[in-house]
């Protein structure tokens, strides 16, 4: 990788003949509601309630691009990744792969193309099986290799792709013999074994030691560049999203609040929640003591606030924010914010925080 945002010229893709930048996976208005029912001490059953885990999420993943989804715990970012991986069924909305609507019947073909890497490499590998088993199984299931010799060869090729070299040394290791970073590389290799064009990475480095996180992120970056993978990078760490992703989408309380080019969103945050998130992030280069722009905690998803879900914490909230859900307002090239402050009907000079430089 010569530069973080340097992409190889179109056509360098190994992954089919899809040009870099082409849309591969589209999520359209994905919604997940969980019905819950509280149980009392004597088996009494409480009223039915609904957890609004994710609502109306639309997202595009493009070949050779990393799309980051940034949010805090409970924002719905993992729900989104799991819906895209078809591990949980959306309550509403649809997923399109290469323009085709995904259904249960096309599930095997879908898994072939869309794979997921989980957060915890200590839990996602089976402790009683070695590396070879973990990689050979998806190769056989997805018919990527047949016969012992071909499978062995393919396993070693996968290990080389995730830079676990010399590969012979790793093939027969058990998970407990590997460090966290090495395990996560095996998990990535397992996802690659199916030959996917989309990789969903749910907090792939948050369980790893700080000094080895960048190594794993850079590996994913290389895969994006050399194999034109479309990568969804789910994270709570906005600095790593800025470093590694091409586009950043910010989620709050189950909804998208802002999305755009990674550097644009982090340098000129438009939504007050993004501004709050950035103001609270650790930043050794901060010139003055941090001033957190907002207060309070994320709302309950059982009874989410009406209107904009951020309004109870928003320092700029207006009456309209309490009643009406804000539309996506374009604020720059490819940059949208779901905020009434940005809407021409409501933006007033006095309350309108200029992008990236809101009133203190």
């Amino acid at each position: 990788m010569s530069a973080v945002d340097g992409h190889p010229p179109d056509g360098a893709a190994l992954n089919g003949d899809r040009p870099t930048g082409a849309t591969v996976l589209v999520a359209r208005d994905l919604t997940k509601h969980y019905k819950v029912r509280e149980r009392g001490l004597r088996g009494s059953v409480g009223p039915k309630r609904v957890v609004h885990a994710a609502e109306d999420i639309s997202l595009e993943l493009r070949a050779g691009r990393v799309s980051a989804v940034v949010g805090e715990s409970g924002s719905g970012k993992t729900t989104l990744a799991q819906m895209l991986a078809w591990l949980i069924r959306p309550t509403a909305g649809e997923i399109l792969l290469d323009g085709q609507r995904v259904t249960r019947r096309s599930l095997r073909a879908y898994r072939h193309r869309v794979q997921i890497v989980f957060q915890d490499p200590f839990a996602s590998l089976n402790p009683v099986h070695d590396v070879h088993y973990h990689l050979a199984r998806p190769l056989r299931i997805h018919r990527r290799a047949r016969g012992r010799a071909a499978v062995d060869e393919a396993v070693e090729a996968l290990l080389a792709r995730v830079r676990l070299e010399p590969t012979r040394q790793f093939v027969h290791k058990m998970p407990h013999e590997l460090s966290g970073g090495q395990r996560q590389r095996v998990a990535i290799a397992r996802a690659l074994a199916a030959g996917p064009s989309v990789l969903l990475a749910d907090e792939p480095v948050s369980m790893l030691d700080v000094s080895i996180r960048l190594g794993v992120l850079n590996l994913l970056g290389d895969l994006r560049d050399t194999e034109s993978l479309a990568i969804l990078y789910v994270t709570h760490d906005i600095a790593s999203a800025r470093y590694f992703a091409d586009t950043v989408t910010v989620m709050y309380a189950g909804r998208l609040v802002e999305s755009g080019p990674a550097v644009e969103v982090t340098d000129h945050p438009s939504h007050p929640y993004t501004q709050l998130l950035l103001s609270a992030a650790p930043d050794p280069e901060r010139a003055a003591p941090a001033v957190i722009k907002g207060s309070g905690a994320a709302p309950s998803l059982v009874n989410p606030p009406a209107g904009c879900r951020f309004h109870p914490r928003c320092p700029f909230a207006m009456p309209v924010c309490r009643t009406q859900r804000p539309p996506d307002v374009p604020v720059g090239p490819g940059h949208v914010a779901a905020c009434w402050l940005r809407h021409p009907d409501h933006a007033r000079a006095t309350v309108h925080p200029p992008a990236g430089d809101p009133p203190a």
């Binding site: 805090e72 090495q182 030691d209 700080v210 000094s211 996180r213 998130l277 103001s279 650790p282 280069e285």
Partner: protein
């Protein structure tokens, strides 16, 4: 109790010297903390940074005598100075008997444990947990006074006192962590050890709690030993930062100096592992390899297998923790053979020191932009 400038502000309150801790005994023993020297001054926030398995939590448990078997303290001293004007009260915690420890713990030396989520008793209300502590350590106190103090403590950490009747499951993660901090401060200790107190929290909550800790420190004047794996957090929070690796201290320096001019290749590598929130995006590499297995540590400097500048002597002997070349009296120490006064140090560990700043408490987060 306030952090007064002058004598008491810089007098040591906790001096750890030559501390060695092992897990297990005999040939199979794992040396988790090796020969660590660390001084905590009055009113100071010392950050202890290290990756998992670096021995940072073991150090905290050892220094407070909370270490459980098979952990054993095999050497060193942990000297606590309760009062700078009364040196006769000075006590070595490693020699202290159980009665003496009981007298010092919580009242003088409190600890906020990792994952507050699990450190609170789920079947007792917040009030019971706070007043139990007070009853155990203030035997003469009345029920009403303890209740009042519990309410005060909650107010201190920004929680409304009507939450006293709440059970832990009724509180958010951030509130539980605040309750833990309130409990630690219940008896106005001089030293508070915080072991990854904000790791499980969201960034906004984390920031609120850190700001609260600093405000309380300024108001009450206690010292903090803040243990975390997140160096970027310490740079904004701590006055002094100590970096641990494989059980050893690799570098100690004032936060600003450590950020602007790291002297150990491991520190430089750690700093290069945190992507910036500003400026051009550039490729960063982190540190190659992974932390060593302490059951089978490499000979010499434990960092040499991952170090880009390792020399033959790094593979043979552990360098001493000594002042790097440069003006003395800057509170800097580093354990690296490359800092032996030679002229041709690699650029990464030879950046110029930031300009000196006027005397006074070090404000948080005013490091210059990294070159």
């Amino acid at each position: 109790m306030t952090a007064q400038p002058g004598l008491s502000a810089r007098s040591p309150v906790l001096e750890i010297e030559g501390l060695c801790i092992e897990y297990g005994t005999g040939d199979g023993a794992v040396r988790a903390v090796i020969d660590v020297d660390l001084v905590l001054h009055r009113g100071e926030v010392v950050g202890l940074a290290g990756e998992s398995g670096s021995g940072k939590s073991t150090l905290a448990y050892g220094a407070t005598r909370l270490l459980r078997p098979p952990g054993t303290i095999t050497g060193g001293s942990v000297v606590f100075h309760p009062d700078p004007k009364r040196p006769e009260l000075t006590v070595d915690l490693l020699d202290a008997g159980i009665t003496e420890l009981r007298r010092l713990r919580w009242r003088e030396l409190a600890i906020v444990l990792q994952s507050a989520m699990n450190a609170l008793n789920p079947v007792l209300s917040v009030e019971t947990q706070l007043t139990d502590t007070l009853a155990a350590h203030l035997p003469g106190s009345t029920h009403a006074s303890r209740r009042e103090r519990a309410a005060d403590l909650l107010r201190l950490v920004g929680i409304s006192p009507d939450r006293l009747r709440s059970y832990p499951h009724e509180l958010s993660g951030g509130m539980k962590q605040r309750v833990m901090i309130a409990m630690a401060l219940a008896l106005e200790p001089q030293v508070v050890i915080m072991d990854e107190p904000t790791t499980a929290l969201d960034v906004v909550t984390q920031r609120e709690i850190l700001q609260e800790v600093i405000e309380l420190r300024d108001r009450l004047g206690f010292s903090v030993l803040f243990i975390t794996h997140d160096l970027s957090l310490l740079l904004e929070l701590a006055d002094t930062i100590a970096v641990m690796y494989a059980g050893r201290l690799m570098e100690i320096a004032p936060a600003r100096r450590l950020f602007a001019a790291p002297r150990h290749p491991y520190t430089a590598g750690l700093l290069a592992s945190f992507p910036s929130l500003h400026g051009e995006r550039r490729v960063m590499t982190g540190i190659p390899g992974s932390p060593p297995d302490l059951r089978n540590p490499p000979p010499g400097c434990p960092f040499h297998p991952r170090c880009g500048f390792a020399e033959p002597q790094c593979r043979q002997a552990m360098p001493p923790l000594a002042p790097p070349p440069g003006p003395v009296g800057w509170g800097r120490l580093v354990a690296c053979w490359l800092q032996d006064g030679r002229a041709d140090r690699p650029d990464e560990i030879a950046r110029p020191e930031p300009p000196a700043r006027p005397a006074g408490p070090v404000p948080t987060g005013q490091g210059p932009v990294q070159p």
